[in-house]
Subunit: 451 residues, 2 copies
């Protein structure tokens, strides 16, 4: 599976040559995901040549695999009738995402060119709030009535299958669309043909609701190893399903946004490769500004202890390594907590237990580092400096670790994303604490003039 | 789906009451994953009471959902015959993982209690190197011969289904087990009953090899939205399949280890909740020690410029915010690159293009921050200090960003994990650069005595 340009130039040679049959059969031999990942490399004006030369079905499959930006670049170059045909061939969840991103005038025009059921489906799926299961789900699922026999059920699935995203699970509903149970295709195949669906179906289902957060739904699919999860609305009626591949994308996007937050980058929906300089500056600058103003307090701390420093300039040598160690230990603690909270490995109620353990870990690390740097302390500034440095090390590692481990919990307490407890934020907080701890201990132990 | 203790106490009341039937039907009404997540909360000596009261199949399903630590705690308390029965009912991939973790004497004893085919399967699957597709794959898949008709194929799957992890895809092989193609259960259901498998099967397959890295395989499953991917060995013969749920676990574990590496924590296989204080100290201390010794250079930098500092102590006020900004901007750049490399959003060949963009972004951020802090500079130290501080800010943000974006690429160049370019490492490098840049600019612009 190559993403290199040979494939791309091959495509354009075939498209430019005008031999549509050759192009179509070449594209048939490749996976639509591969074709899409090649076409995004080309300008929209060239990609459209390839897409226009293919038949509706091929075009729709490749189009659905393009990223959102590429879709919106190519859409204006496509005729309405063509685009409407492609839309009606896309999966229900993909086409909602696409239509919603179009300029309003165009999307209204296109909606009127679709069959009524398709139009209504798009409007219904499009009505759920972003980030919820409703906005992620698809309506391409198969349903069965409880009174059908296994043979009748299989016949029904056979008829419907080509249109459905998955027929590996079929959902059993009553006349008010209330979800009664689930039968897998495997269950139906294994059953005696005259067994009724209601006697085959599993009634203990893992379900989601339309308002549920997407990450929560993704976690359920992963925990129970499901191919799809049914989504119900308030009155228990089946509204859609979320499939494992979409759930996986949610989990990946969530991990990416956690990574970004943890290094103080604002939420970014564009891929790094496509993001412009202006966008990247806007996403990175705000937090850096906040951190600068936090660092002013560390500066003020140093200025406050100017007399202490003037009296023992040797202390400055140890400043970076002491406050650095506090920040580094704090980043480690924060990362361990943020990730463990995100994967569900720990919960908020585990806080007190983890706090106790963190004190133990921080003291262990602090003592090891303290002994290490006190040796350098003796060499650089004599035994008194060594004691100050060792004591400070234990204290700053403890302070940094406790800040790092507590902040993510505190943020969840206020319903904020724990990943906001980023390395840079923790480092800045630990710097402040470190400056004050270091020079306070030095002033006290060395009997230096007070500030 | 509750994970709280009421469920746990309910279980123990039933187990202690001795009414096995009540316990069994209670457990039947719950998902094995939920039961497992409740049992891990209990001591092994109590969990074994519940597991022993259930029938082999229930026990095996719950046991397979336990984490590795809990399995190894409970196994010694279980009789050999019982454990052998549970093992033979576990999925092929789960049972290998379990047996390999047992003490050698026990695993040999148990292997001899299993049927020969099971024993050989465990030994074969267990022979692949950790971290490869071979070590992740299962042998529970269905195969078909090309000459079968759709009806015959369905009959065969019907017979085999109860034992197989998935029958949604069946793999078509020749007499030498060479992989010829794939038919989905959906294809078979939709086909006319007398169509031959070889006329139905898809021949263009996405496959993996036994030696391929697990993360690579997980990426393929996600990219092509597959339920399972076939794994072949050197001579193109089918060795196993990797299913989407195991691939998802790999992707999640990979993201977790990237998170940990990025805050300088060594690779950790234990969950945070179960990790002891000693283990956590061992995993966190080594990198902190490395960073301390890197920070010594920053300290030495400060000591080198002692005369500059003595002549203008006001400079110290700005030290934390200047070197902090360099480190923070660098952490942002590193995180963006590490994550984009991990998800495949950017590749190593994009390096030069991204470098150009990074210079633009860093100059934009540096200028904004520089103008901001120069205002404080005027207020705290006059116009000269303001100029020094503004110039330094642009330079340190640029230096930090370039270090942050280049290091992950450099690491991949030497086949190291880019996530090793952690926030703390970048911060320490940026601190060193920042100290030298700051005091060099100050010495030059303010005409201060040289070191």
């Amino acid at each position: 599976m190559s993403h290199s340009s040979p494939l791309l130039s091959e495509l354009f040679v075939l498209a430019a040559g005008g031999d549509r049959e050759a192009l179509r059969s070449y594209c048939d031999s490749l996976h639509p995901a591969d074709l899409a990942s090649v076409l995004v490399e080309a300008p929209a004006s060239e990609a459209i040549l390839v897409l226009d030369a293919l038949d509706h079905q091929q075009s729709a499959e490749i189009f659905a695999h393009l990223d959102h930006e590429s879709q919106q670049e190519i859409a204006p170059l496509m005729a309405d009738t063509r685009l409407a045909r492609i839309i009606s061939r896309m999966d229900a969840d993909d086409r909602v995402d696409f239509v919603q991103r179009l300029p309003e005038a165009r999307s209204e025009k296109l909606l009127h060119m679709l069959a009524q059921t398709e139009r209504e489906d798009i409007l219904k799926l499009g009505s759920y709030r972003e980030g919820t299961a409703g906005a992620l789900m698809t309506s391409d699922y198969a349903t069965l009535r409880p009174a059908l026999t296994a043979r009748q059920a299989l016949d029904k699935l056979r008829l419907e299958a080509p249109d459905k995203e998955t027929i590996y699970y079929a959902y059993v509903i009553d006349y008010e669309r209330r979800l009664l149970g689930l039968v897998s295709l495997k269950d139906l195949i294994l059953a005696r043909p005259d067994t009724r669906v209601e006697d085959l179906m599993r009634r203990e289902l893992v379900t989601a609701t339309v308002d549920e957060k997407q990450e929560e739904v993704a976690r359920k699919l992963a925990q129970y190893d499901l191919i799809a999860i049914p989504v119900t609305n308030g009155n228990e009626s089946l509204a859609g399903i979320v499939t494992f591949d979409d759930a996986h994308d949610v989990a990946e996007a969530e991990a990416t946004s956690d990574f970004h937050r943890m290094s103080s980058i604002s939420l970014m929906n564009t891929s790094l490769r496509d993001a412009g300089i202006g966008l990247l500056v806007r996403k990175r600058l705000p937090w850096l500004l906040v951190l600068v103003f936090m660092n002013i307090f560390s500066g003020a701390g140093i200025a406050y202890f100017e007399n202490t420093i003037q009296a023992a300039v040797a202390l400055l040598f140890f400043l970076p390594l002491l406050i650095g160690s506090g920040g580094n230990a704090g980043s480690q603690s924060a990362t361990l907590m943020v990730r463990a909270l995100a994967t569900g490995d720990v919960r908020r109620k585990d806080w007190l237990h983890l706090l106790g353990k963190e004190v133990g870990v921080a003291l262990g690390i602090g003592l090891c580092l303290g002994i290490g740097v006190s040796l350098i302390g003796i060499f650089r500034g004599g035994p008194d400096i060594a004691v100050v440095v060792a004591l400070t090390m234990v204290a700053v590692v403890l302070a940094g670790s406790l800040i790092g481990m507590s902040l993510p919990f505190l943020l969840t307490r206020f319903r904020l994303d724990p990943a906001t407890a980023s390395g840079p934020l923790i480092t800045s907080l630990a710097d402040m604490a470190g400056v004050i701890i270091y020079f306070s201990i030095a002033t006290w132990y060395l009997g230096l003039p007070h500030a």
